[in-house]
C-alpha cells in the first residue's frame, strides 16, 4: 500500500494508471511523472521500492498542484468570477453553462435533472 499526495492509496495497478487516481493527475501527467522518475510504465505499484515511491512523492510536491490544493484553486477561481460581476460569474451563479452553449435544450449537466413543467403537454 502506497500513500502518495495525502490520502490516495492506489492499488495493484500499473504505476501510470494508479497515479491517475489522484485528483489533478491524468494519463498525460502520470506518464510525465514516470519519465521524470525513470520508472518503467509496465511496473505495478506494489513492487515499487520505498525510494521510488519517495521520488514520485517528491516530484509531485515540487511540480504539481493536486488534491485539496487543486480543488481549492478551482473553487477560488470560480468564486473570483462570481465576485467580479462579469458574465461568466453570472452564469456560474445561476448554474448555467458558462461557455456560450445553448440552453433551449440540453445543458443538463449544469441544470441538473429536468423539472416537469405544469400544463406542458403534446
Amino acid at each position: 500500500m502506497a500513500r502518495i499526495a495525502g490520502v490516495n492509496i492506489p492499488t495493484a495497478k500499473r504505476v501510470p494508471i494508479a497515479l491517475t487516481y489522484i485528483t489533478g493527475i491524468g494519463p498525460a501527467i502520470a506518464h510525465q511523472i514516470c519519465e521524470a522518475t525513470k520508472i518503467d510504465e509496465q511496473r505495478r505499484v506494489n513492487d515499487l521500492s520505498d525510494a521510488e515511491v519517495l521520488a514520485i512523492r517528491e516530484y509531485i510536491d515540487a511540480n504539481l498542484t493536486v488534491e485539496g490544493d487543486l480543488r481549492r484553486e478551482t473553487t477560488m477561481n470560480i468564486k473570483r468570477l462570481m465576485d467580479l460581476g462579469c458574465y461568466r460569474g453570472l452564469r456560474h451563479r445561476r448554474n448555467l453553462p458558462v461557455r456560450g452553449q445553448r440552453t433551449h435544450t440540453n445543458a443538463r449537466t449544469r441544470k441538473g435533472p429536468a423539472k416537469a413543467i405544469a400544463g406542458k403537454k403534446k
Partner: protein, 92 residues
C-alpha cells in the same frame, strides 16, 4: 482561437481618448462607452465606465482583476426573471 500577441490588445480609439481625458480632468465621472468589444487595459483601473447594454449604460467600476477581459462582460444584455412555474414551485 486567441488573438495574436503581436497585435496587442484591441481597444476602440475613442475609449482610450475618453479615459485619458477623464484621467487628466481629475473628476471621476462615469465615462459612457458603447464599445463592449474593447479590452480592459491596466490604465483603466479605478475609472468608472458606463458600458452600454443596448438599452442603457451600466456603470462598471474597473478593478485589477478585470484587466484583459472585455467591457461587454460586465454589462449583461439580457433580462430574465425566470419562469412563472419555477416561482410557484419555489413557494411551496
Amino acid at each position: 482561437m486567441a488573438r495574436s500577441v503581436w497585435k496587442g490588445p484591441f481597444v476602440d480609439a475613442y475609449v482610450l481618448k475618453k479615459a485619458e481625458a477623464s484621467r487628466e480632468g481629475g473628476r471621476s465621472e462615469v465615462i459612457k462607452i458603447w464599445s463592449r468589444r474593447s479590452t480592459i487595459l491596466p490604465q483603466f483601473v479605478g475609472l468608472t465606465f458606463g458600458v452600454y447594454n443596448g438599452k442603457k449604460h451600466i456603470p462598471v467600476n474597473v478593478t485589477e482583476d478585470m484587466i484583459g477581459q472585455k467591457f461587454g462582460e460586465y454589462s449583461p444584455t439580457r433580462t430574465y426573471y425566470g419562469h412563472a412555474a419555477d416561482k410557484k414551485a419555489k413557494r411551496k
